[in-house]
C-alpha cells in the first residue's frame, strides 16, 4: 500500500514537472522562426487608476488612453498572439487590481486566455504619470513580465509601449528588434521631389529627414543605425549621399554616371553599384570613400548588394544570364551560387541577418510578388498575393518581420508582414506614395 502511494506520488510529480515543461516550452516560449507555431490567446485589460482620489484632468486621462491604444495596436502586429477583446470574456473583464493577488485567474483560464496584461496608473509628483504594466501567465498563474514607466507627454506613450512590447516579444520568442527599430522610406511630396522619412515600423514618430529638390532612391541603413546611404538624382546627375543622425549629409564623389543601391557592410564600409567601367558593377569603398575593389564585375547589370550580420554572405542581382536574377556570394569559400529560379525577373534581394534566408521580388503574370528562399534547401516560396505589385522586401532586425512596398491599394505604400507571409499590415505613412523601405538592424 505504501509502495503504491509512493508510485502515485512519483507519477504525480513527473506529470507536474512534465506539464510545467510543456507550459514553458510550448506556450510561453515560441520559436517563431520555425513553421507551425501555436497562437497564444492574450487579453489586455483597460487601464486601472490606482490612486485613492481623482487628482488628474482630462488631458492626463487622454495620455493614458493613448498609451493603451498604442499598446493594443502593437500587440496586433504579432501574428502569434490572438488578441481577445476583454468585453467578450465570460464573467466579464473586471479585476480587483493589477497585481497577482488581485486577479481571479480561474475566470481567464475558463476563457482559454494564456496571457493577461494589466495596466495600472497613478499621478506622482509634478503631474507625471506612473504606468505599471504586468503580463501574467494565466495557467501558472505567475507574473510573466512587469515594468513601470513614467510619462508626461504623447511621445512617451509611444516609447513606453514600444519598450514594453519589445521586452515582451524578446521574452516570448527570443527575437527582438521590431518595437525598438526604425524604418526609413521615400515619400513623393507635392512639389514632385522624393525625400527620406523615418518612423517606427508601425508608422509612429514619423519625421522627414531630407529636404532635397530632386529624387531620393534606395536608402540603406548602416548596421549601427546612425547613417543612411542613398542615391540622389538631380540635375542630370546621380550622387551618393550619406545622411547622419546629426542631420548632416555627406556628398560622396565616386566615379561613374549611375550610382545604384548603396549598402553598408557590417563593419561600416559602403558597397555600391556604379557604371565607372561602363557597366553597373558592385564596388567596395574604403573609409575615405575611394574604390577599394570590385566585388562583382561582369558585362551585365550587377546591383543591389545585401549582407548578413557576419559579412560572410552577399546577395545581389545580376543579369549575367540575360534576365535579372538573385545570386549569393560566399566570402569564405569565394563561391557564387544562383538563388532564384522562379520566373524571369527577380530583383531586390535582402538576406536575413542570420544568413539563413533571402527575400526578393519576382515578376509574375499578376505583378511582382515577394519570394522567401531558404538558403539551406534553396526552396523558394511566394509569400504575398498582391493584388498589384509587391516589391522591395527587407528583413526586420529579428529576421521574422518583413517590410515591403505594394500598390495593392492603388498607391505605393509600405506593408509589414512576416517571413511566412502572414497578416500584411499597411504602415501609416500619411498622404502620398511611400516606397524604398529600409529597416534598421539596431535599437534606437
Amino acid at each position: 500500500m505504501k509502495k503504491i502511494g509512493i508510485i502515485i506520488c512519483i507519477i504525480y510529480l513527473f506529470l507536474s514537472v512534465s506539464n510545467m515543461g510543456y507550459s514553458q516550452k510550448n506556450v510561453l516560449h515560441l520559436n517563431i522562426l520555425e513553421p507551425g507555431q501555436p497562437q497564444l490567446n492574450i487579453t489586455l485589460i483597460p487601464p486601472i487608476f490606482l490612486g485613492t482620489q481623482k487628482n488628474y484632468d482630462n488631458s492626463t486621462k487622454e495620455l493614458v488612453d493613448k498609451f493603451y491604444q498604442i499598446f493594443l495596436n502593437n500587440l496586433s502586429y504579432l501574428p502569434f498572439l490572438n488578441l481577445i477583446n476583454p468585453d467578450a470574456l465570460i464573467g466579464g473583464e473586471k479585476i480587483n487590481g493589477v497585481t497577482l493577488r488581485d486577479i481571479d485567474f480561474g475566470k481567464f483560464a475558463l476563457n482559454k486566455i494564456d496571457l493577461l496584461i494589466t495596466i495600472g496608473w497613478k499621478i506622482i509628483e509634478k503631474q507625471n504619470i506612473k504606468i505599471e504594466v504586468r503580463t501574467f501567465d494565466v495557467y501558472t498563474p505567475s507574473l510573466y513580465l512587469g515594468r513601470g514607466y513614467i510619462i508626461n507627454k504623447q511621445v512617451h506613450t509611444y516609447l513606453a509601449a514600444n519598450k514594453f512590447c519589445g521586452l515582451f516579444m524578446k521574452k516570448l520568442t527570443g527575437r527582438s528588434g521590431f518595437f525598438q527599430s526604425k524604418i526609413a522610406f521615400v515619400k513623393r511630396l507635392k512639389n514632385g521631389s522624393k525625400n527620406l522619412f523615418i518612423s517606427t515600423p508601425q508608422g509612429y514618430l514619423q519625421k522627414q529627414i531630407t529636404f532635397l529638390k530632386g529624387i531620393v532612391l534606395s536608402p540603406a541603413w548602416s548596421w549601427d543605425g546612425k547613417k543612411l546611404a542613398f542615391t540622389y538624382l538631380s540635375n542630370n546627375q546621380h550622387k551618393l549621399l550619406i545622411w547622419s543622425a546629426d542631420g548632416t549629409i555627406k556628398n560622396v564623389f565616386i566615379p561613374g554616371n549611375t550610382i545604384i543601391s548603396p549598402s553598408f557592410t557590417p563593419n561600416g564600409e559602403i558597397v555600391v553599384s556604379s557604371d565607372m567601367k561602363g557597366n553597373p558593377d558592385i564596388y567596395l569603398l574604403d573609409e575615405k570613400f575611394k574604390v577599394k575593389k570590385a566585388l562583382v564585375s561582369s558585362w551585365a547589370i550587377d546591383i543591389s548588394p545585401s549582407f548578413d550580420k557576419k559579412g560572410d554572405k552577399m546577395a545581389y542581382v545580376s543579369s549575367i544570364y540575360g534576365n535579372p536574377n538573385i545570386f549569393l556570394y560566399d566570402f569564405k569559400n569565394k563561391k557564387t551560387i544562383r538563388v532564384s529560379y522562379l520566373g524571369k525577373y527577380n530583383t531586390n534581394p535582402c538576406i536575413s541577418s542570420n544568413g539563413k534566408y533571402i527575400v526578393y521580388s519576382t515578376l509574375t503574370d499578376k505583378g511582382h510578388r515577394i519570394v522567401l528562399t531558404d538558403l539551406k534547401t534553396l526552396e523558394e516560396k511566394i509569400i504575398t498575393n498582391g493584388p498589384g505589385n509587391d516589391e522591395h522586401p527587407v528583413f526586420g532586425p529579428d529576421d521574422y518581420f518583413i517590410a515591403f512596398t505594394s500598390n495593392r491599394s492603388g498607391t505605393y505604400k509600405i506593408y509589414i508582414t512576416t517571413k511566412d507571409g502572414t497578416h500584411p499590415r499597411v504602415v501609416n505613412t500619411g498622404e502620398g506614395e511611400a516606397t524604398s523601405v529600409a529597416w534598421s538592424k539596431t535599437p534606437f
Binding site: L217, S234, N236, Q237, I249, N251, F253, T258, S304, S361
Partner: protein, 206 residues
C-alpha cells in the same frame, strides 16, 4: 659635322614626338561619358543644392574645353564665353530630329533598326553642328523594380551613347543619365503607356 647632324636629327625627332603627343590628346581614349572627381564633402542640405549647381558650372563637360575644338572663325564668334550668346540655336528641323526619342522592348537595351536610323540622323546633325552637346536620358516603364530600372535606364542611355560614338561623335559631347522609372511620359498602367515610357530622350546641353 656628324655631331651637328646628329643634334638636328634628335631635335626633329623630339619636335615630332611633341606634335604627335599633342595630337593624341585630342582623341578620346575611352568612351566613359563623365568621370567625377574622387573627393567627398560634408554639406548641409541647403548647401547640397548649391554645390550641385556649382559642380555643373565648373565640371569638365561644361564649357571649359571651348578652346580645344577645331572651329571655323564664324563658329568662334558664336562660341564666345558670354553666357547670353553661348546658347546654341539649331534650325527647327534639326532640333526636332535631335530630340526624337528612341524606344526599347521590355527589359531590353538593344537598339532596334528604327532606333539606329534615328540615331544616324542625330549623328549627321551633330557632325554638322560640332558645338552641340547632348544629354542622353534613359527611361523605363513602371513594371520593373526601381533599382534594376535605374541600371536598365543606364544601359539604354549608354547604348545610344556608344552608337553615336561609333558614328563619329566625340565622347565629350555626350553625357548620359538614367532616370529609371521616375519620369514616365505616359502615366497610365497599360501596354501602350509602357511602350512609350521605355525610351531614350535627348536633350541639348550648353
Amino acid at each position: 659635322m656628324w655631331r651637328k647632324l646628329f643634334l638636328q636629327v634628335i631635335t626633329v625627332l623630339f619636335v615630332g614626338f611633341l606634335v604627335v603627343g599633342c595630337a593624341k590628346k585630342k582623341i578620346p581614349t575611352h568612351s566613359q561619358p563623365t568621370v567625377k572627381q574622387s573627393q567627398s564633402t560634408s554639406l548641409t542640405q541647403e548647401d547640397l543644392t548649391k554645390k550641385t549647381t556649382s559642380n555643373i558650372k565648373t565640371g569638365p563637360e561644361q564649357g571649359s574645353k571651348v578652346d580645344e575644338y577645331a572651329v571655323t572663325s564664324e563658329e568662334i564668334s558664336s562660341e564666345n564665353l558670354n553666357k547670353e550668346s553661348n546658347k546654341i540655336v539649331l534650325p527647327e528641323e534639326a532640333e526636332k530630329e535631335i530630340k526624337k526619342r528612341i524606344y526599347f522592348a521590355f527589359d531590353s537595351y538593344e537598339l532596334n533598326n528604327n532606333a539606329k536610323e534615328i540615331l544616324k540622323k542625330k549623328a549627321e546633325i551633330l557632325l554638322k553642328y560640332p558645338s552641340v552637346k547632348l544629354v542622353i536620358e534613359g527611361h523605363c516603364d513602371e513594371r520593373g523594380t526601381e533599382e534594376y530600372n535605374l541600371a536598365l535606364g543606364e544601359r539604354r542611355a549608354r547604348a545610344a551613347y556608344e552608337y553615336l560614338i561609333m558614328l563619329g561623335i566625340e565622347a565629350d559631347r555626350l553625357s548620359i543619365v538614367s532616370y529609371g522609372e521616375e519620369r514616365p511620359i505616359d502615366p497610365r498602367h497599360n501596354e501602350e503607356a509602357w511602350a512609350k515610357n521605355r525610351r531614350d530622350e535627348f536633350k541639348i546641353s550648353n
